[in-house]
Symmetry: C2
C-alpha cells in the first residue's frame, strides 16, 4: 500500500508544482477576450490623479483593483495613506494603496509587483482619434488613456497569477502586489507607506518587480535605470484680476511678459540647460556605458518617423540614447492662467503659472536642483525690476534609479524573454520617471527589476495612448514565465 | 372754426415735437426694472464670437436684437454678411448684421447708432464671483459678461427711442441702428457690408454714434480716438503628436522652447516693443495733446488700486495716458496647445500657438505691422536653427481712429452731458479698439462720435464685468438728451 501510495502522492504534488509553459500559454491565449474586457473596464475609469475633481473616480479605481485581487483569493488591504494638501490650503484624501498577497511559503522567494492605476489627463479635444476612456481596438491596438501606462501591465500580472490558479499549478514564488493611484503626480504618500510597512508587508519580500515602462524597439527589453523628475511651478502675479489689453496695455508690466522672459533663460535654443550647477552635477559617461549603448537595437530613422520630426537634437545613436536616459533635460509643459482656448481674447492675464520639469539623473539631488532653479529664476527675475511677484515651487522631486544589470534578477529576465519571445533582451534605461523604484531601493534595500511589456510606440502621456493586444497577451506569458525563473534564484537568508 | 382749429392742430403738433426732459427722465426712472430685465435676457445668451461652438447662440442673439427693434416698430433687416473661414479651411456662417430705422424725415438729421451684441469668452473658473451669463445685481452693479461691453449701451439706445415713442414725442432726429455680432474678434464681414450699403442704408446718415467704450473716471466723457489692434497667432509645430517628456525629453527640440524664445524677443522687461520699425512709425506727441492730457481728471492712485498693482510703467499722468491711448503696446495673451490646466502633466506639446496683439496707433498701418512682425519673428526663429516650423498669422488688423473734437457732434455731447449730469465732459481717447469707427470714417465719410456710458471700472474683457445701474439708467437719459442736441446741428446739404 505504502509503496503504491507514496508515488501517487508524489505524482499529485508533482502535478501541482510543475511549470508547464505550453499549457499556461494556451490558457492565456484562450482567455484573451476576457483580458481585453477587463482592461476596457479599467480604462473606462477616469482615474486622473492630477485633477482633483476626478478624485472620486480615482477612489473607485482603487476599490476595483482591490476587488480584482480579492476575487482571486488574495489577502487584500486598502491602505490609508492620508491626505494631500492643495495649493489653496485645502486637503483632499489620497487614493488608498492596494496591497495583496498570494502565498506565504517561507521556502519560496517572494516577489512584490508594483504598479499604478492612475492616469495622465486626456480629453478628446487634445487630438485623440477615439474617446480616451473608451478602449477601442483598431487593428490589434487597444487605444485608451492608461492602457499601457499602467493598467494593462498591472492586469497582466494579475492574469499571470490567475492562470497558475486556474490550471491548479502552484505559484513558483509568493506574489505580493502594491498598486498605487498617485504615480502620475509623484506618488504622494507612497514613500511614507513603504517606510511604515518596511518591517511588516515588505519584510519577507526578496525582489521588487516594476512593469511601468516600455520596450525601446520591437525587441523585448529589461530596464535598469530611470531618470528622476523635478517638476516646478513658476507663478508670476501682477494685477488683482485679468485686464483688457486695449484699455490697460501700455501702463502695466504684464505678468506674462515677465514669465516668458524668465522661462527663456532656462534652455538654450539647442536644448542646453542654462541653470547654473545642473550640468556640472551629472555623472560622466563611462566607456562601458558607451559600448552598451552601441550594442542596443535602436533605429534613428524609425525614432524620427515615430515622433514625426526631420531632425533630432543629436545625429548618432549613443548621443541620442544618452540624452534620453542619463542626461538631464528641461521641458516647458505649459502655462496656467493665460488664454489657452482656440480663437482670440484680448486679455492681460493677471496671474500666470508656468509648468516645467527637469529630468534628473545621477548624481543630481532634488533638493539641490530645487535650490538651483529657485535661486536662478529669482535672480533673473530680479534683473527685470518688475513690480510683479514671482513664486517658484517644486511640486515633485523624484529621484533617478539605477540597478545592477549583473544581478540574478536580470539573468532571470533574459532567460524568460528568450523562452517566450525567442529573442535576446535589450538592456535599456528609461527617460521617464518611476520614482518609487528609488524609494523601494532606499527603504527596503531589496533588489529591483523593471520588466516592461509596453510597446515602444504606445504614446504614453500623449494622445492615442495604446497597448497592443500582442504585447498585452505575450506580456502576460512573459510574467508567468518570469515567476518560474525567479523561483530558481537561490533564496538569500 | 378755422381760427380755433389751427391752434388746436398746432398744439397737437407742438406736443408731439416738444422735448420734455423731465417727463422723459421720469419715464426712464419708472421703467428701470424692465430695462434691467431686458439686459438680463441678453446677458443670458452666450454670444461669444471667438468660440465657433457658441455660434448658434450668437445667431440667436442677432435674432433677439432684430426682434427687439421690430417690436418697437422699426424697419428691420437681418443682413447676411457671408461666411468665416476657419484655420482648418472649413467655413462657418457669420452672424447677420441687424439694421433698423426709425423715422425718415428728410428735414431732420439722421444718426446711425452702432453697437455689438457679441461678447468675450467667460467661464466661472476664470475667477468670476457670479455666473458670468446670469446677470447679478450686487449693490447696484449688474454683473455679467457683456453687460457693459456692449449689451447695456445697445439696449440703452433702444430704450431712448422707446421713451420718445411711449410718451408720444416725435423723435428729434431719424435714428438708424447697425448692430453686429463679430466685434470682439475683429468685425469680420462688417467692412464689406458697410461698403456695400454705402449708397443705400448709409446714404442719408449724417452722424455715426458709437457707445462701445467707457468713462475714464466718475466724470462723463466723450471719446475722440481709439487704438487699433493687430492680433497675431505664432504657431510652432514639431513632432506629429504630444510626447512624454521623460521618454523623449533630451532628444527633440521642443516647440514650446522655440515659442518662448521668440516671444521673449517681442518686448523688453520695461515694456518696450522690440520689433524693428514699430516705434518709429508712431506720430509724435504734440504740445497741444500734452496740455489736454494734463487737464484730464485721472487719479493715478485710483488707477493703481483698481488694477491692484503697486507700480505702473510710468509715474506721471501724461505718460500714463499717452501710453494707454496713443502709443502702441504688445500683450502676450496666452498659448494654445500647451498644458494649461491646474495640476501637472509631463507632456512635450507638439504644436503650440501663441496669441499676442499689438495695439496700433497713428501712423502705424496694419499691413506694415503684419510684415514687420512676421519678418522679425521669422528672422529670430531662423537664428535658433530649429527643425520645427513657424507660422505667423495676423488674424485681426484693425486700424486706429481719431476724431476732430471741435466738430459740432462733440459740442452737442458736452451740452447733453452738462444737462444730464451737471458736469463738464472729459475729452478722452480709448486704449482699446473699436475697429469699425475707422471703417465708418473711411467708407462713409461721415463724422463719428463716441459717447460712452460704461463706468471706468466695468472690467471689460475681464472677470466680473459689470454695468452699474446708475450708468445704465442715467446713460439712457443721456442718449435721449443727445438725440435732441444733435437735432440742433445744422443739417449739411
Amino acid at each position: 500500500m505504502t509503496l503504491f501510495l507514496l508515488p501517487s502522492i508524489l505524482l499529485v504534488i508533482s502535478a501541482v508544482h510543475a511549470f508547464q509553459f505550453e499549457e499556461l500559454a494556451h490558457y492565456v491565449d484562450s482567455h484573451q477576450e476576457e483580458y481585453v474586457e477587463a482592461l476596457r473596464d479599467w480604462v473606462a475609469v477616469e482615474s486622473d490623479s492630477s485633477d482633483v475633481l476626478k478624485r472620486p473616480e480615482l477612489h473607485r479605481m482603487m476599490e476595483m483593483t482591490a476587488q480584482k485581487l480579492r476575487s482571486m483569493g488574495g489577502n487584500v488591504q486598502l491602505v490609508d495613506i492620508g491626505v494631500q494638501e492643495l495649493p489653496d490650503g485645502q486637503t483632499l484624501a489620497l487614493p488608498k494603496v492596494v496591497t495583496g498577497q498570494f502565498g506565504s511559503d517561507p521556502n519560496k522567494n517572494t516577489v512584490c509587483v508594483y504598479g499604478h492605476v492612475d492616469v495622465q489627463p486626456a480629453k478628446i479635444e487634445d487630438g485623440w482619434a477615439t474617446e480616451p476612456y473608451n478602449l477601442t481596438d483598431i487593428n490589434g491596438n487597444l487605444y485608451g488613456r492608461g492602457a499601457s501606462d499602467n493598467k494593462a501591465p498591472v492586469l497582466a500580472w494579475m492574469h499571470a497569477v490567475e492562470a497558475y490558479q486556474a490550471l491548479n499549478m502552484e505559484l513558483p514564488v509568493n506574489v505580493k502586489f502594491v498598486v498605487e493611484g498617485m504615480e502620475e503626480t509623484g506618488s504622494n504618500g507612497l514613500d511614507a507607506m513603504i517606510l511604515a510597512q518596511r518591517d511588516t508587508f515588505f519584510s519577507d519580500v526578496d525582489f521588487i518587480i516594476i512593469s511601468d515602462c516600455g520596450w525601446l524597439s520591437r525587441r523585448p527589453a529589461l530596464t535598469y535605470g530611470t531618470r528622476g523628475n523635478c517638476y516646478f511651478f513658476a507663478e508670476v502675479e501682477g494685477p488683482k484680476q485679468d485686464l483688457h489689453s486695449g484699455v490697460y496695455g501700455g501702463t502695466v508690466i504684464e505678468p506674462m511678459t515677465d514669465l516668458i522672459g524668465i522661462l527663456d533663460t532656462l534652455i538654450s535654443p539647442s536644448g542646453k540647460i542654462l541653470v547654473p550647477g545642473i550640468r556640472e552635477a551629472v555623472a560622466p559617461l563611462s566607456d562601458e556605458e558607451w559600448r552598451m549603448y552601441q550594442d542596443i537595437e535602436f533605429d534613428i530613422n524609425d525614432y524620427k518617423s515615430k515622433i514625426g520630426v526631420n531632425q533630432l537634437m543629436y545625429t548618432n545613436k549613443v548621443d541620442l540614447l544618452a540624452h534620453r536616459w542619463r542626461y538631464p533635460t528641461v521641458t516647458i509643459h505649459g502655462i496656467e492662467g493665460a488664454f489657452s482656448a482656440p480663437g482670440s481674447k484680448t486679455v492681460i492675464p493677471a496671474k500666470v503659472i508656468a509648468k516645467f520639469s527637469i529630468r534628473q539623473v545621477p548624481d543630481m539631488e532634488p533638493a539641490v536642483v530645487k535650490k538651483q532653479v529657485t535661486d536662478y529664476l529669482h535672480s533673473v527675475f530680479a534683473k527685470r525690476k518688475s513690480p510683479n511677484t514671482l513664486k517658484v515651487t517644486m511640486i515633485i522631486g523624484a529621484k533617478p534609479w539605477l540597478a545592477d544589470t549583473k544581478h540574478a534578477l536580470y539573468e532571470a529576465g533574459r532567460t524568460a524573454i528568450k523562452k517566450v519571445f525567442d529573442m535576446e533582451a535589450d538592456l535599456i534605461r528609461e527617460g521617464g520617471t518611476i520614482p518609487i523604484a528609488r524609494t523601494f531601493q532606499d527603504v527596503t534595500g531589496k533588489s529591483i527589476i523593471m520588466l516592461p511589456i509596453g510597446g515602444f510606440d504606445d504614446g504614453l502621456h500623449s494622445q492615442n495612448e495604446k497597448m497592443s493586444r500582442y504585447n498585452y497577451i505575450e506580456g502576460t506569458k512573459l510574467f508567468i514565465t518570469y515567476l518560474n525563473e525567479v523561483a530558481q534564484i537561490k533564496k538569500s537568508v
